[in-house]
């Protein structure tokens, strides 16, 4: 408390002396008045931002003086000008399409991942700063249409338009993130602090990156490496009351005077949290410790460049101890008990059940500009380890029940050509060699088998610029080969080899209008080969009282079958996304409608009850069906006055199992968010303060599968009946939790102190300390969500 007071006094002191309160804003557009989002806008000396979806950039709390403004965007001539602060009006930057080949220095511009005809949304700048201290998955919730599948307060997986895990591709610094993403409690192993912006592509057209993008793509982009001499950096600090959590992240970067074009960056993050708490009790064993770092260096010459990047992500996290159950009756007891079993006073200690996960990424990429086009090649090496510890007998507590290592090598090559002023094309090759090993010594039959995976893909995309229309298309072919070695329920070994191949295509068009609005349509067909877990899973997952069987396990004998003898087809999706957006001084709005029809959607379906020595158990089997996802994302921001703006965000989704005329489980319920932002300058030249209040309403999921309670299962079983024998519709043990309403508030300001910028944010979430449960949190059977949390974030940029 004392520290907090000192901190505040110090802030006031700084505020009182600050004379730097000017704002510089403007828009970035093409000659055709098409607004450019994601352009890199630098104000030298000092700071850099990206233009937002509406092409708008903004620098706040500037000191008076002369600055150099530099705007860059791939495919356009860089823009440079001297600007005076205070400026008399908003700037309008027009970028001119580059006629010659790209300038080398900015070739690794991060927005090459996104085509103009994609439906995408970016999290950067202040919005990204506001998510500091959250995990990647949780941060992405700020984007309409994105939600999460959660396991307790520490594990968040992004869900795009109702799809997640193997159906979402995450690109970490240009490399396909390859972890054990099949598990619903396996969060992406990425430190969000490495990103200067995070893009979510909501359509399935990211054809350059291969299979699996049925739901969409998350692109995590670090900022460009500096190319000019000098050292800069930033330090982020976040303290949170819930979980008594702290985050410290630092970054240092610089360029070299001696070696022109050489830039480097080192970055590291530490996070620690103890047990989180609901309004009424502690969520025991939900703490986590995380330590991440990355190192990057690059050399960029006139016509070539090379980059090295290494990052490590390492976490240990606890899973709510009260969710540890080993029979259906345990599940009933756990669901009826509140607070959960094993609830104890707050601690930072992490016990079983827990996870230890590490992810290492090494990337080398080079690019070359020739008269025949631009060539790019990148190699990525990923080493992922995952240990899951359960509550077990005796000394088994110290050895993991699941112990996996995943080694992934990727090699990508790409050739980009500007055939004419109107047409450009891109062709490429992706290869992957992956090895998954169960490390011996778990003393349990492995949940998924060992496997080797060879995959390759070829793609071609073309882009046609027809002034008001921008059209692009792409085709791709992928091949994947699996060699699987595992053990069945009786610990008998099995081996199999399979291959899968298929084509994908995409088509997109953008129509820009003079009134700063645009219409984007995108139709894409994508597919994914089955994941080994869907074919061979065997066992009980942490904290869910259900046995999971892979698609290839025989229904009566449990023996592993040959893929060719079962009715299996590759999962394919046809996704059509249309969006319209507008941005002017008063209004920013975006309306997106989508339909995604997934053929042979592979999911866990209740299939029966088996009796073990521990009692009766429902079992779920991976089954295929046709599923549809129909939804709308709405976003609107209205600037009522220069000080006051109102923001609304709505995400609606209905998902349906078409084959079985049934609902699917864990589909995010409809969300409605309303925010208000108020800006005020302190004194005449003081720093600007912003206050924001947000109300979030999440409806009950009314399109949920039927409920079959544990008592019904046990009673039926007691009467020698199988409750799922004649009715294998999807079910849930509990009805979806009721709708909830959350309030949050935040206040922030940024202050210049010489060349150092300080951004301060105080954020209070779940302000009313409401007790509620989230439908898409797997812990909802056992405990409430976390209660009120107050976070203080500080960011120093220098």
């Amino acid at each position: 408390m004392k520290l907090l007071l000192v901190c505040f006094f110090w802030l006031w002191a700084v505020l009182a002396h600050s004379q730097c309160a000017y704002t510089l804003s403007g828009t970035v557009a093409t000659e055709a008045s098409e607004l450019l989002s994601g352009a890199s806008v630098e104000l030298l000396p000092g700071t850099a931002v990206s233009s937002n979806e509406q092409g708008v950039f903004r620098f706040e709390n500037l000191c008076a003086g002369s600055y150099r403004l530099r705007v860059r965007f791939i495919g356009f001539e860089p823009y440079e000008a001297t600007v005076q602060v205070p400026a008399s009006s908003s700037l309008a930057v027009i970028l001119i399409v580059q006629q010659t080949l790209l300038d080398v220095v900015e070739v690794h511009d991060h927005f090459e991942h996104v085509a103009k005809t994609n439906n995408y949304k970016t999290l950067s700048g202040k919005e990204l700063d506001e998510t500091r201290g959250l995990s990647l998955g949780e941060a992405l919730k700020k984007i309409s249409g994105v939600s999460t599948i959660q396991t307790g307060p520490a594990i968040f997986k992004p869900v795009i338009h109702g799809l997640h895990s193997q159906r979402i591709l995450i690109l970490n610094n240009g490399i396909r993130q390859e972890g054990q993403q099949w598990g619903a409690e396996h969060a992406p192993e990425i430190d969000p602090f490495i990103a200067s912006n995070i893009i979510v592509i909501k359509d399935a057209s990211a054809i350059k990156y291969g299979t699996d993008a049925l739901g969409g793509v998350v692109v995590v982009n670090p900022a460009d490496l500096p190319t000019q001499k000098g050292i800069g950096g930033e330090v982020n600090m976040v303290a949170q009351t819930n979980g008594r959590a702290g985050t410290l992240s630092g970054m240092l970067e610089g360029g070299s005077e001696k070696f022109e074009g050489f830039g480097w960056r080192v970055q590291g993050t530490g996070r620690k949290s103890g047990d989180s708490n609901t309004p009424d009790y502690i969520l025991s064993n939900t703490g986590f410790t995380e330590f991440n770092f990355s190192v990057a260096a690059g050399l960029h010459k006139k016509s070539k460049g090379i980059d090295f990047f290494f990052s490590r992500f390492q976490t240990e996290l606890g899973i709510l101890k009260g969710s540890s159950i080993s029979s259906t009756e345990d599940l009933r007891t756990a669901m009826e008990r509140e607070p959960p079993q094993y609830t104890q006073p707050f601690t930072y200690a992490i016990e079983n059940p827990r996870q230890e996960v590490a992810h290492n990424l090494l990337k080398v990429n080079g690019h070359l500009h020739t008269d025949y086009g631009d060539f790019k090649m990148q190699y990525g090496f990923q080493y992922n380890t995952r240990k899951e510890f359960d509550i077990r007998r005796d000394s088994l507590n110290f050895i993991p029940a699941i112990d996996l290592e995943l080694i992934t090598n990727t090699l990508d090559a790409e050739w980009q050509q500007h055939t004419s002023k109107r047409f450009s094309s891109n062709a490429g090759l992706n290869t992957l060699i992956q090895i998954n090993n169960n490390l011996p010594g778990t003393q349990r039959i492995p949940f998924i088998p060992d496997f080797t995976n060879y995959a390759g893909g070829l793609f071609y995309t073309g882009k046609l610029n027809l002034e008001t229309w921008l059209v692009d298309f792409g085709v791709r072919y992928d091949y994947r080969y699996y060699n699987v070695v595992g053990f069945d329920f009786a610990n008998r070994p099995y081996t199999s080899t399979y291959s899968f191949g298929n084509a994908s295509f995409s088509f997109g068009a953008t129509r820009s209008f003079k009134n700063r609005s645009a219409f984007i349509t995108n139709l894409a067909s994508s597919w994914r080969p089955p994941h080994v877990s869907e074919l061979y899973s065997f066992g009980v997952h942490q904290s869910v009282a259900a046995i999971e069987y892979g698609l290839l396990l025989d229904e009566t004998t449990g023996k592993v079958l040959d893929l060719n003898t079962v009715d299996f087809k590759n999962e394919k999706a046809l996704k059509w996304v249309n969006s319209w957006h507008v941005a002017n001084d008063r209004v920013t709005a975006e309306v997106t409608g989508y339909v995604n029809y997934v053929f042979n959607y592979t999911y866990l379906r209740p299939s029966g009850v088996t009796q073990t020595v521990r009692g009766a158990y429902p079992f779920f089997r991976y089954t295929q069906t046709n599923a549809s996802f129909l939804g709308t994302d709405l976003f609107g921001k209205f600037n009522a006055t220069t000080a006051l703006s109102v923001t609304g965000m709505i995400s609606l989704l209905r998902a349906y199992d078409q084959t079985n005329t049934d609902f699917l489980i864990y589909i995010p319920p409809n969300r409605y968010e309303l925010g208000m932002e108020w800006k005020k300058s302190i004194g005449k030249n003081g720093p600007a303060l912003t206050f924001e209040a947000t109300a979030l309403y999440v409806d009950q999921q009314r399109r949920a599968p039927r409920v079959v309670t544990v008592n019904e299962i046990l009673d039926a079983y007691g009467n020698q009946q199988d409750p799922f024998e004649n009715d294998s519709r999807n079910f849930d043990f509990l009805a979806p939790p009721p709708a909830y309403f959350l309030l949050s508030m935040q206040a922030g300001t940024s202050i210049w102190m010489g060349t150092t910028k300080l951004f301060i944010l105080v954020r209070a979430s779940n302000l009313a300390n409401a007790a509620y449960r989230e439908y898409t949190n797997r812990m909802r059977y056992y405990a409430d969500e976390v209660g009120r949390n107050i976070a203080l974030s500080l960011k120093f940029s220098f």
């Binding site: 029979s327 080079g366 003393q443």
Partner: protein, 205 residues
């Protein structure tokens, strides 16, 4: 420029080769936690042949159901000592972990057996046992013959005296709970995790 491209290519291909040679032969795991066989032996205190019933689940979490033999047929007015034996049949009898009973004895302070039976079958214990459905379920006592280091009951060995009645098609349920850090003077069958939960048919002649 060309050499640059070559270097890139070589580097990438080289790296691919380095990391591909590690496809190892997976080792078979011992699975000491799996209980595939539970044997109940009712030995008459006054001598005579024991009543033995077994529940077997050869595929563990596999889809095949548990095989329960029985019924348990006890004689009237007789005192029996019930001993329990737990085996992991996926291991060989010589292997560590085959006799799970031994491990439970070693960890007696974290384990307890609970029982439920049809009322009126036994003269001692009376009632219907100590398995709870809800925290408010009333429970009876069980004649535990063994205890852990803290003096709390374990239940690998228990004593049962049948009443002087002939009954058939009654039930007898055995539950083993793993209660790490939870076993206490007040812990019940609702605490911890279930390792065993079996129900047998019971006759008394």
């Amino acid at each position: 420029m060309k050499t640059f491209l070559h270097v890139l290519l070589l580097m990438a291909v080289g790296a691919l080769l380095v990391f591909t040679g590690c496809d190892d032969d997976p080792g078979k795991e011992n699975v000491p936690e799996l209980i595939t066989e539970v044997t109940l032996t009712f030995t008459p205190a006054g001598g005579g042949s024991a009543v033995v019933v077994t529940a077997t689940d050869p595929d563990g979490d596999g889809p095949q159901d548990l095989q329960v033999d029985g019924p348990i047929t006890l004689a009237k007015n007789t005192t029996y000592v019930l001993t329990l034996e737990l085996i992991n049949g996926l291991l060989d009898p010589g292997d560590d972990g085959y006799y799970i009973t031994e491990e439970i004895e070693e960890e007696a302070d974290e384990h307890q057996f609970f029982f439920r039976f049809s009322e009126g079958v036994f003269a001692s214990p009376t009632g219907s046992g100590n398995i709870k459905d809800t925290p408010s379920t009333p429970v009876g006592t069980i004649n535990y013959l063994d205890e852990d280091d803290n003096g709390r009951p374990l239940g690998l060995s228990t004593s049962w005296t049948t009443d002087n009645v002939t009954v058939s098609d009654k039930s007898f349920r055995v539950m083993l709970k793993h209660q790490p850090g939870l076993k206490s003077a007040t812990s019940t069958s609702l605490d911890g995790e279930t390792d065993v939960d079996l129900t047998f048919v019971l006759h008394v002649n």
